[in-house]
């Protein structure tokens, strides 16, 4: 039935509103309008691919972590330390996301770890599709830990599930302690927050209790750790967390 005038395809009038005049010709209905109910999540396609990645990780008993932060908080440094310190204890693989260059992948490669660099070009985040392709190329080992280092950006990566088991947000003490309030979505969607560069605390006006309180306001379930990749302080706690996650039985 035509939504404009209420006539059906062969020109028979089936519905009239009172006072509705038919001052137009009955037309052949190649322009017939209809309503299509969609009810589909806009991120549906990404979420499907993320679930596919998740299934791949589960089948291979891998622990996939999505590392997010603003640029310069020390994601790559944290990885370098971790990969070196836990060498021989756990198997690792790394996916590096940056707009340009293979600089980060080169740093990871130097630790002897399998690494794939994704260059997003103008893109501001990784998505599940990019990770899927990276996985096809790298073929990570069973029972390994996969670090996915996202593009340095505290906004956009928050919306895109990659299929990770946990999302880890990193913030450094050279940033503002109000950052969790300014960029709440990333802290809301993460399960662990690592405060990095705590060796610099004496030199910067960063209130560590305040940042913790702010992060908890956004996400009361957030776990918080303080580390320094330079001095090594606090790293043991992070390593224990990693090992506990690797050993954790599947909760399906």
């Amino acid at each position: 039935m035509c939504a404009t005038c209420g006539c059906d395809a062969d020109g028979k009038v089936t519905m009239h509103e009172p006072g509705h005049h038919h001052d137009h010709h009955h037309h052949s209905h190649d322009h017939q309008k209809k309503v299509v109910d969609v009810e589909k999540d806009i991120l549906h396609e990404n979420n499907l691919l993320a679930e596919r990645n998740r299934g791949y990780f589960e089948a291979k008993n891998m622990l996939a972590l999505n590392l997010v932060s603003s640029p310069g908080s020390g994601k790559t440094s944290l990885l370098e330390r971790t990969l070196t310190d836990l060498k021989g204890e756990l198997d690792f693989a790394v996916i590096e996301g940056d707009q340009q260059t293979t600089n980060d992948a080169d740093r990871i490669h130097a630790t002897g770890t399998k690494v794939v660099q994704i260059n997003t070009g103008k893109g501001c985040h990784l998505d599940a599709h990019m990770v899927l392709h990276a996985l096809q190329g790298m073929k990570p080992k069973n029972d390994s830990v996969l670090f996915i280092e996202n593009v340095g950006n505290l906004v956009c990566p928050a919306m895109f599930d990659l299929g990770e088991k946990e999302r880890v947000v990193i913030i450094s003490v050279t940033e503002g302690d109000d950052k969790p309030l300014k960029y709440p979505d990333m802290f809301y969607s993460s399960s662990l927050c690592i405060i990095n560069k705590i060796d610099l605390l004496p030199y910067v006006p960063f209130d560590i209790e305040k940042v913790k309180a702010n992060a908890k306001k956004v996400n009361h379930k957030l776990e918080i750790m303080e580390v320094s990749c330079t001095s090594g302080e606090g790293l043991q706690q992070w390593y224990n967390w990693l090992k506990s996650k690797v050993l954790a039985p599947e909760s399906v």
Partner: protein, 113 residues
């Protein structure tokens, strides 16, 4: 500028559905975009103009329902409107809250011809 990725996803979903319905044009699209999502509406409008060019959505009228944030306090069970995800429960002052509405990101329906 993740808004452009969002617009491209909308274009994909809308075109798939319109083609399934044997339509050649999309006249109208209705969407839910929650106020607590990271969609910045100015950036979205800009991305929309660029993203729908030469697609079936090029001349479509878009209807956007902005769904306001709503939360439930896990401590006192109060239901309240939530403007920012870091807001406390207005009744007991706790931050132990569950977001119930405001995170929607959905294509609801199309009017096609």
């Amino acid at each position: 500028m993740h808004e452009l990725s969002i617009v491209m996803s909308i274009v994909d979903i809308a075109q798939q559905q319109a083609e399934k319905a044997d339509a050649v044009m999309i006249d109208e699209i209705e969407m839910d975009i929650g106020c607590l999502t990271t969609i910045e509406m100015n950036a979205f409008e800009f991305a929309w103009k660029q993203g729908v060019k030469q697609t079936m959505l090029e001349s479509a009228v878009k209807k956007i329902n902005r769904i306001k944030g709503k939360a439930k306090c896990l401590d006192c069970e109060a239901l309240f409107p939530l403007e920012n995800v870091y807001d406390a429960c207005p009744v007991c002052g706790e931050h132990l809250i569950d977001i119930i509405e405001g995170k929607e990101l959905r294509v609801k329906s199309l009017l096609v011809s």
